[in-house]
Symmetry: C2
Subunit: 356 residues, 2 copies
């Protein structure tokens, strides 16, 4: 299968040009493009350029308003409620992070919630946006209902991610960004497209809600909440922290990137905590290094030769992809070219080689 | 195997009398006793009366100071750092919850961290302490290192619980209290004591860090982080929110209830968020009912006849045990009687019957 590989800076510029082609103002287009390329660089292709055609289509259908910054609905103490007014998800998240950083600097911690929002790409981008200001950053978002609660066979929840990012140098700091399902949906799709007959236990259920390791049954079945009732609990935690508090769509009411008749209407939320209210200057970093050293020093289990911390696998992808470029599958490439043609945007230079 | 069954009120009074026998002031003893019985009533026996002999032993050895309330180290904006000064865990948690509630009412949310603390029993007790004040309550605590990080075979982390409790009537509200391992360690011990040869996949690893379903290998092996790297990530999240910010013992530095030569030195943390800063009066409850209705209405999967929300299984235990009493195993009963004799406390009335 041919892969089209593009250097990340050129791919970023291409994304920005496509968004500008759709009428998005330069600063907003640059922000969304940076958010998408961040996903690809870190190996999280489900939250990279692969999302852009859906964003463009949502704007084209009037389901996302590319010219909207949103507006503050209320600020009260260390809390804030924002109305995204259906703007691009990254634009909403950016404005909310700015406010939550300001409020946390003032109060020691802060919490911001946005309603009527769209997909904000990789949550890690927003956790890091906050931790780059020296704060511990959290990002949450509800999502399209594709996951059944524990013991059920009907979808009621999204993959509802939890992200936490710690301040410090990017190449050593700890950064967790996880869906509350055992694996992301696209790992099951990928196994199916690659014609792998079996997936590991715990990933999925068949359409009757029975745990399965058959890739085919999983593909036509349901994604499994992480560890059963605990994953469901965490997904509901995220739903409460985002949709419930936002007064926005929840559970089956939520739209999606592949739902064409109504806006996505997800809710974002962001929590920031200032470690300087607890520890002396530099102490947070020192203590984090100590903790990650403890983790790294654990003897690897059978079949492994090292122990990694959250964010480290993504960091390795990033180092590699910054040099080697970002690969897109032929279907993904074609979809982007269609939009490039529509908006008269020059496609970026690419390398192609045959894989597998 | 004989079970000794005691009515919960009598067991609570017995716990309080034992603590008073150890020299603990009445109000503190009553608090710890209520915390332990809360665990038993909800079916979480690992965090019930079964802990009391360890608490008494820790005090007897001078590792816990039963006369200590702790002291505020700093209050800054909506944050607070508390020194437990090695007091009883429930006493520390109670004082911190009081402060975090006050601060959240003032700022919209608040975060309190306690250092040099002891075991606080079931985290759910503290989440609910906060949610009973009309706030969304979170409780976190690090714990003795018995869990390896993902890909390792050496323990570095505790079962580090995450608890979130929502305001509302106790018999319908959502309450999550979960260890960040697939199951609590004592479920593996129980299977081993009951001579069950097999446990489900995903619970444990053998001592080389290989996933196992052999109860014997698991008993002599390692507890598995929930879903692999995600459970490790969540455990580290809790370690950061508690131990790192507290400036306290972390990872392998942490003591434990079965470690006799040094204090436990865990850290607690509590987060409170006021939904009234986001939603109108009554709206939070209405929206939570709507969400739980969506969850309950999902068609059960094969092998199940209902879908439950977080806290519901524990609520069922509570309804039953309030009537039928709380059962203690013969070993647990004997340990309590030894302390009763030492402190000249009358044991409670009990029923006994032969099981299995």
């Amino acid at each position: 299968m041919a892969k089209f590989t593009v250097q990340h800076e050129e791919l970023r510029a291409f994304a920005q040009a496509l968004l500008e082609g759709a009428g998005v103002r330069t600063d907003r287009a640059a922000l969304v493009a940076a958010n998408l390329i961040f996903g690809n660089l870190r190996g999280v292709d489900s939250h990279g350029m692969q999302l852009l055609p859906s964003y463009l289509e949502q704007m084209d259908r009037g389901l996302t308003d590319g010219a909207e910054d949103g507006e503050m609905l209320s600020e009260s103490g260390a809390t804030m409620l924002y109305d995204a007014r259906n703007g691009l998800g990254a634009v909403t998240a950016d404005r909310c992070c700015e406010h939550v950083i300001r409020l946390a600097q003032e109060h020691g911690l802060a919490f911001a919630v946005a309603r009527h929002a769209n997909h904000f790409g990789a949550a890690a981008f927003w956790g890091r946006r906050i931790s780059d200001a020296g704060l511990i950053g959290f990002a949450f978002c509800n999502a399209s209902p594709i996951v059944p609660p524990f013991q059920a066979k009907q979808a009621r929840l999204g993959t509802n991610p939890i992200c936490m990012s710690t301040p410090g140098p990017h190449d050593t700091s700890w950064l967790l960004d996880m869906a509350t399902t055992t694996v992301a949906a696209n790992r099951i799709f990928k196994a199916w497209h690659n014609r792998e007959p079996e997936i590991p236990a715990g990933w999925a259920m068949d359409k009757e809600g029975r745990p399965t390791t058959s890739t085919d049954e999983a593909y036509h079945g349901l994604i499994m909440p992480l560890g059963g009732y605990k994953g469901t609990g965490l997904a509901v935690m995220v739903e409460i922290l985002s949709a419930i508090l936002a007064g926005d769509a929840m559970s089956v009411e939520v739209g999606g990137l592949r739902i064409k008749d109504r806006p996505m209407n997800v809710a974002h939320s962001f929590l920031a905590i200032d470690p300087a209210r607890f520890l002396g200057a530099g102490e947070f970093d020192t203590r984090m290094s100590k903790l990650t050293n403890y983790l790294h020093s654990a003897t690897p289990g059978a079949g492994f030769d090292e122990v990694l911390i959250a964010g480290e696998p993504e960091l390795r992808f990033e180092k590699k992809r910054r040099v080697e470029g970002i690969g897109l599958g032929p279907g993904e490439w074609e979809r982007l070219l269609t939009w490039a043609q529509k908006y008269n945007v020059e496609p970026p230079r690419y390398n192609t080689e045959e894989h597998g």
